[in-house]
């Protein structure tokens, strides 16, 4: 290469002398577009790094997915159990069985007395014949009903309570009515179910917290190993003027990618569990003559899971990359 040519090319590399002092400093403050370009490049680098170690990355994603799947599955279970409770809530009626020995006149008196009890909004009467007809319609009970020589069923009053009434208190008042043999209501059972659901919800929160931290630590460890493996590159980039933020950025995207894909794996696992138990649950409900079907995981809960995974990954990577860079610098 001739000296003249070399000098010409060197001059081509340099800006005019009057902007010499400002050169490079202008580049040190990237515009919004350049900043975005840097983020795109960091994301590309993170994806490339992920695929460069496919097997390891996949194992990490699955482990993170398993950790996040457990609280998701439990949350899904609790939500569906809540629906069972909700369905029971709608069935607030009390069933009042009259003494089978009552004659028609006593039945009429007892029914009137029940209608007069405070807190009763409506009463629906069911005769022993209506009861027998309903019994015959239940699967397996037809033959048993035929075998009876007389109808043993009592008169029944289906009591709809007023909105503000506490069911157990109304049941006590109804039991006191002359001619009433038995008052059946679901309040106690439902309260128990509510308590169990509340307990399960707390368990879900605690598990979600613990397993979320676990997933974050998994991601942090994966990123820490990544940072250690790329020490030389980090050192060079830093010497060439890469700021801490610039050096950390691909690792943050890497962590977010792990978190996001881990959450996606957890959602896939949740769907697998849902599809596996959906039919058995429906069959079980049918044996109780109930039309209950598991609700599918909602789009909202899936979106929240993806968001949580992404944030956990980002935080895990931020902590790991920062600590590792500080540790390397101290060395």
């Amino acid at each position: 290469m001739s000296r003249r040519k070399q000098k010409r090319e060197a001059e081509a590399m340099s800006p005019p002398a009057n902007i010499r002092v400002a050169r490079n400093r202008g580049l040190a403050r990237p515009t919004a577009m350049q900043w975005l370009a840097q983020h795109r490049a960091a994301l590309r680098a993170a994806v490339a790094q992920f695929f460069a170690h496919r097997l390891g990355s996949l194992v990490n994603v699955l482990v993170i997915g398993l950790a996040l799947a457990l609280p998701l599955v439990l949350d899904h279970t609790v939500r569906n159990l809540g629906r069972v409770g909700g369905a029971l809530d709608e069935q607030r009626d009390l069933t009042v069985f009259l003494d089978p020995a009552l004659d028609a006149g006593d039945v009429a008196k007892a029914m009137s007395a029940i209608e007069a009890v405070s807190g009763v909004a409506a009463v629906q009467r069911r005769s022993p014949e209506q009861g027998m007809t309903e019994l015959r319609q239940l699967p397996g009970f037809e033959a048993a009903a035929e075998a009876l020589d007389r109808n043993p069923l009592p008169w029944v009053a289906l009591v709809t309570p007023a909105d503000v009434v506490i069911q157990s208190e109304l049941a006590t008042r109804l039991e006191a009515v002359a001619g009433v043999d038995l008052v059946q209501h679901d309040a106690a059972w439902r309260e128990r179910l509510d308590r169990i659901l509340e307990l399960l919800r707390r368990v879900v929160y605690v598990l979600a917290g613990l397993l979320g931290i676990g997933a974050m630590l998994l991601i942090a460890n994966a990123i820490r190993i990544d940072v250690m493996a790329r020490r030389e590159e980090i050192s060079i980039v830093s010497l060439l003027g890469g700021s801490d933020a610039y050096v950390r950025r691909p690792f943050l995207y890497g962590g977010a990618l792990y978190g996001l894909l881990g959450a996606a794996a957890a959602i896939a696992l949740l769907w697998a569990v849902h599809l596996a138990v959906r039919e058995p649950v429906a069959s079980l409900a049918a044996t109780y003559a109930a039309d209950f079907r598991l609700s599918a995981p909602s789009l909202l809960s899936s979106t929240v899971a993806l968001g949580v995974g992404l944030v956990l990954g980002w935080i895990g990577a931020l902590v790991a990359a920062t600590l590792q860079l500080l540790s390397d610098r101290a060395d």
């Binding site: 580049l27 350049q34 900043w35 370009a37 490049a41 060439l240």
Partner: protein, 225 residues
């Protein structure tokens, strides 16, 4: 541009790498630093690159007081430097174009400008047309040229080179030095640490001579010691 004011550097083992070092280098000047092995050349380079900090004295580069430069300002300062390392410091898993492009990517240069500058820098060091080659496919001298291309690609105000011609044949070493001279003429300040006295003599530039960490000579051509 560069001012060393009574600078000293003592390492943790108690040895003085540099003592009472004072000199100034003006903008657009090209200066050699020479001396025997262990004279303090590399330490001086490390101080300028903010890899090490002085234990005494002040270093000022273009109004930047290096003793107090911290955090994000270190990165901003280094973006104004072009560093050539004795051991090249290239990324083995990237092409030489990607290696040369690193300083531009760090500063957020747009793709079109980046491609243009990388091609120009590689042409300048005689590696044009080999952009996609990995460093491991190159000889030591060629890798050193990649390092030089990376140092000049962002048009730095200051180029600091540690033995940049150590692995080059005399002809190529001379060409690289002429390139530095040309860059100095365009306003870049160049500081080259070298123990190649023949090359230094041929260049007829200012020479700082170090011995056991002390400046024993500040030779300016035409002015004598």
């Amino acid at each position: 541009m560069i001012r060393f004011d009574n600078v000293g550097k003592r390492y943790a083992n108690g040895g003085d790498a540099l003592s009472e070092l004072s000199f100034e280098i003006g903008t657009g000047e090209m200066v050699f630093v020479t001396g025997h092995s262990g004279a303090g050349k590399s330490t001086l380079i490390k101080l300028l690159a903010l890899i090490e900090r002085p234990t005494r004295g002040q270093i000022v580069v273009d109004d930047e007081h290096l003793a107090t430069t911290r955090g994000a300002r270190i990165a901003a300062y280094r973006q104004r430097l072009g560093l050539v390392f004795q051991d090249y410091r290239l990324l083995a898993d990237r092409s030489i174009a990607d290696n040369v492009a690193l300083p531009l990517k760090i500063t957020g240069c747009d793709d079109t400008e980046l491609q243009k500058r990388v091609r120009a820098a590689l042409d300048l060091v005689g590696l044009g047309g080999r952009e996609r080659v990995r460093p491991s496919m190159l000889s030591g001298g060629e890798q050193q040229r990649v390092g030089i291309a990376r140092a000049i690609v962002a048009r730095p105000a200051l180029i600091v080179a540690d033995e940049p011609t150590g692995n080059l044949d005399p002809q190529l070493a001379s060409e690289i030095m002429q390139l530095f001279v040309a860059l100095a003429h365009t306003g870049s300040t160049i500081l080259v640490a070298s123990h190649d006295l023949h090359l230094i003599q041929r260049m007829k530039k200012r020479v700082l001579v170090l011995d056991k960490g002390r400046l024993i000579d500040d030779f300016r051509p035409g002015k004598g010691a």
